[in-house]
């Protein structure tokens, strides 16, 4: 009996220790190590940390997303819907709201002395505001320019590389009441309105790829401004027959771009070869993520290795996939005379409405192309809008340079592309537009890009 009780006493003491064990993980998850949990993209708690969540504002400080009466409001509605995403306790987080939630909740303070203090006051501190480079007026205009279409538009400020507008259609209204009303339709719609297309859409580039090929061929010394091409409407590469959309006859290099001659560019592509095309896409920074544009995708470099692959790749077909943002960046590089500046969407993280506590590192302009080659491509793009395939992009009183594209794809009619910039002499704005399955780029995308450029040029001080 005595031994039995000794053992019972031992067991009791053992249990007292065991029962405290759950506190190990509770203190871990509740206090010491909960930042990762709180920042988890699936965590709806951030969405409901009501009025403490910071705002998202545009470049002039106009609100894009803010808390009011416990609910997240989006004044632009669907115009910035896919870009901003949504934030509410029912559907959680998406888009920039999800990617920036950590900053909006204001958790990214130095992990040192403050850590201990944070245990106490974390929940009481308002999150930081986030300033984007977006201009809400231009964002709205870009969205309106896409009306009635599926597609996306990106507008860059050439001197700085800042993104002024990133519109995507079909879109959705991220305000909670609208989201609740439309949710079933949005999630089932085969046109995928929840997808942000401007930075994350992947498309075959079609002929808007040609400026890159032209620049590459010039840089490699494979062609020169005096070169000329004879287009008979079709070209034979091995046993692959490549059609041109017209019998252009004799063309100079600049004219080959202006009239988007497939025969000429198939020739340049064959001279370059796959490895050099891939190399030049890397030079133009199409591979890799952007530090100041959360969520932007990396381009898919061409992998095909059949004998005619360089010809197809050079006219933007084959298996290359790029986003509208990549193409806008390409236009901006030409506009800057061969200098690349990494596009930026994030401008600053502002605490308590005054103190800037974080900014993306200021990008160093990098020369990716010699000034001469860039100038030659720029002249050819100017010719494109003056008398080539892109005349629909002309803006009265301003010279516009551009390139159209009509990318064949397995989903139906061609994707209409347009990339360009204006004014041609002193470029300020670069644009890329894609309209999915709309048809020819010159006919559909160019007028759309023209509207956006016109709005941008009219807005300048």
């Amino acid at each position: 009996m005595r031994a039995l009780k000794e053992r019972a006493r031992f067991l009791a003491i053992l249990f007292i220790f065991l029962l405290v064990l759950p506190l190990v993980n509770i203190s871990r998850y509740a206090c010491l190590d909960n930042e990762e949990l709180l920042r988890h993209p699936r965590n709806h708690y951030g969405a409901a940390e009501s009025d403490l969540l910071g705002s998202i504002v545009d470049r002039q400080g106009r609100p894009l997303a803010f808390m009011k009466e416990g609910e997240r409001r989006y004044p632009l509605g669907p115009a910035a819907g896919p870009l901003l995403g949504y934030c509410n306790p029912v559907y959680g987080l998406a888009g920039l709201e999800a990617q920036l939630s950590e900053r909006l909740q204001g958790f990214s303070v130095p992990r040192s002395l403050n850590q201990a203090l944070l245990l106490w006051d974390k929940r009481d501190r308002r999150g930081d505001d986030l300033q984007l480079t977006i201009d809400s007026q231009l964002q709205r205009r870009a969205y309106e320019a896409l009306a009635g279409r599926r597609g996306a538009a990106v507008l860059l400020e050439v001197p700085t590389g800042e993104i002024l507008a990133m519109a995507s259609r079909p879109a959705y209204d991220p305000n909670f009441s609208a989201l609740k009303r439309d949710w079933a339709r949005l999630t089932r719609d085969p046109q995928a309105p929840l997808v942000e297309r401007a930075g994350q859409g992947m498309y075959p580039p079609g002929s808007v790829f040609k400026p890159l090929i032209m620049a590459a061929a010039l840089e490699e010394g494979l062609t020169n401004p005096q070169a000329h091409f004879d287009c008979q409407g079709r070209a034979q590469v091995g046993n692959f027959v490549l059609n041109c959309h017209d019998r252009h006859g004799m063309l100079s290099l600049a004219q080959a771009l202006a009239y988007s001659c497939n025969v000429a560019f198939a020739d340049l592509g064959m001279r370059l070869g796959m490895e050099r095309i891939r190399q030049w896409m890397r030079t133009f920074q199409m591979e890799g993520r952007l530090s100041a544009v959360p969520g932007a995708v990396t381009a898919k470099l061409p992998e095909a290795s059949n004998p005619s692959a360089p010809a197809e790749t050079a006219i933007g077909q084959a298996d290359t996939l790029v986003s509208p943002l990549h193409m806008a960046r390409l236009a901006a590089i030409i506009a800057r005379g061969g200098l690349d500046i990494e596009p930026r969407l994030l401008k600053a993280q502002v605490r308590e409405g005054e103190e800037i506590i974080w900014q993306p590192p200021w990008p160093q302009p990098r020369r990716v192309l010699s000034a001469q080659s860039a100038q030659l491509v720029a002249q050819a793009m100017l010719l494109t809008v003056e008398e080539g395939t892109g005349t629909a992009a002309q803006v009265a009183g301003v010279q516009v340079a551009g390139k159209t594209g009509s990318a064949e794809n397995p989903h139906g009619a061609t994707h209409a592309w347009f990339i360009g910039y204006a004014p041609a002499q002193k470029p300020r704005y670069a644009v890329a537009v894609i309209l999915e399955n709309a048809g020819g780029g010159g006919r559909y995308a160019a007028p759309c890009a023209q509207k956006i450029l016109k709005a941008a040029l009219a807005s300048q001080p």
């Binding site: 031994a3 039995l4 249990f15 065991l18 405290v20 190990v24 509740a30 709806h44 245990l119 106490w120």
Partner: protein, 420 residues
């Protein structure tokens, strides 16, 4: 102690005034009063009989019940199950009634020993009936449904089994202490083998029935009682080894076991379906901080089945690390006092039975607390006195009554009478 508990219990229904006044037909303070009042009445009735049971047991239980009642009530409001809080209050009052009735009418508890095979058979029959005629919830057939009320017989089967085990262990304690190797012939070995085979079969049945929590609980109780009775560490170690091997085989051959384990290791991998509950629980824990969100202010209602399995997590979110540490101290105190009863018991059956009941509380709390905090695979058993559910409450208060009776009849009175 009683006064502290009374303050908490009364505080609970004062606080209900502060809850959002969304639902006019239900008046929370009435049920708060019912809860607190029935607690007081039970306490007075026990003392009125001049029963000398441990004065700490009931207040401990009432502390846990009243804190968690608040939680259950507010979660009921959040999930729009408005009857949940009132239902729980009524169940508490009924369970307290059963407890008092047991204390009053269960004459001498040693009688239980005589009926050990009745308890064994009763438990087995209940378990077989539920396998044949029960309803399935989430793929496990563990419930009877009678007139809209779900009854989980295992809650009572486990008490029957503990009574049986206590009686069996006491009857064969000398034989069992001999172990496998003995010069006393084959009979002693037979007692041990019978016990081992019986437990193995019970465990396997529970695993096959998908009641992993109960399998773990039964194992824990058995090993605790066996160790306290016999003190054979070698056999305990051997049992652990064999059970480990058995657990491995179960993991290998039962997909539902694999799912539980995978879910435990990485709930986010299966966020969309099976991991969802655990992920939400982790988010809820993450939101707790040191001092919690405050009662009624959590978002733990996001966790599916929160009032049954994850009441503890909801409480953690609202009370914070400090508050939940206090609650765990309440559980520790309850378990410790139950063991105290075992230590005071004059009769070996009483001591073994009290050990079994105390380790029931201890293991059950431990398994579910470790489960919801992702230290063990999650198993759906209830936290005594804290989780919602009438059966769980009733069974917990029945256990409390048994412990009280052992102490009143065999422990404190005799000890005081004998020594002083």
């Amino acid at each position: 102690m009683a006064i502290v508990t009374a303050i908490i219990a009364y505080g609970s229904f004062v606080l209900t005034y502060l809850l959002p006044p969304q639902i006019p037909p239900i008046q929370p303070y009435q049920y708060g009063a019912l809860l607190a009042g029935s607690g007081w009445v039970a306490w007075l009735l026990l003392n009125w009989r001049q029963e000398r049971g441990d004065p700490c047991l009931l207040p401990c239980a009432l502390f846990l019940v009243s804190v968690s009642w608040l939680e259950i009530y507010s979660l009921g409001l959040a999930t729009q199950d408005y009857a949940q809080g009132p239902r729980q209050a009524v169940f508490t009052a009924l369970s307290l009634g059963v407890m008092v009735a047991m204390v009053y009418f269960l004459g001498n508890y040693r009688v239980l020993e005589e009926y050990k095979y009745t308890f064994l058979c009763g438990g087995l029959v209940m378990q077989i009936l539920v396998m044949l005629f029960g309803v399935s919830i989430n793929g496990a057939t563990l419930w009877f449904r009678i007139g809209g009320i779900s009854i989980q017989p295992i809650e009572f089967v486990k008490i029957c089994l503990i009574i049986f085990l206590a009686a069996y262990l006491r009857q064969f304690r000398y034989w069992l202490r001999l172990g496998f190797v003995s010069k006393a012939g084959r009979l002693p070995r037979k007692a041990l083998v019978m016990l081992g085979v019986g437990m193995a079969v019970a465990e396997l049945l529970l695993v096959a029935q998908r009641d992993l929590g109960m399998a773990l609980l039964l194992f824990g109780i058995f090993i605790s009682m066996f160790y306290v009775t016999t003190g054979r560490r070698d056999i305990v170690a051997l049992t652990f080894l064999l059970s480990g091997a058995g657990a491995y085989l179960c993991w290998k051959y039962f997909t539902h076991v694999q799912i539980r384990v995978a879910n435990w290791l990485d709930p986010f991998a299966q966020y969309e379906d099976r991991g969802y509950q655990m992920c939400q629980a982790l988010f809820s824990l993450g939101n707790a901080g040191l001092d919690g969100t405050g009662l009624g202010l959590s978002q733990a209602y996001r966790i599916p089945e929160v009032v049954n399995d994850f009441t503890f997590v909801a409480l953690t979110e609202e009370l914070g690390l400090l508050g939940i540490a206090a609650l765990i101290l309440g559980v520790v105190l309850l378990v410790a006092r139950c063991f105290g009863v075992a230590l005071r018991a004059q009769d070996e059956f009483g001591a073994i039975l009290a050990t079994g009941l105390a380790s029931l509380f201890a293991w059950q709390s431990l398994i579910i607390m470790l489960g919801v905090t992702k230290m063990l695979p999650m198993t759906g058993i209830t936290l005594p006195f804290v989780s919602a559910g009438g059966c769980s409450l009733l069974s917990s208060f029945m256990v409390l009554a048994l412990v009280w009776i052992i102490d009143a009849q065999d422990g404190r009175s005799n000890a005081l009478g004998g020594e002083g």
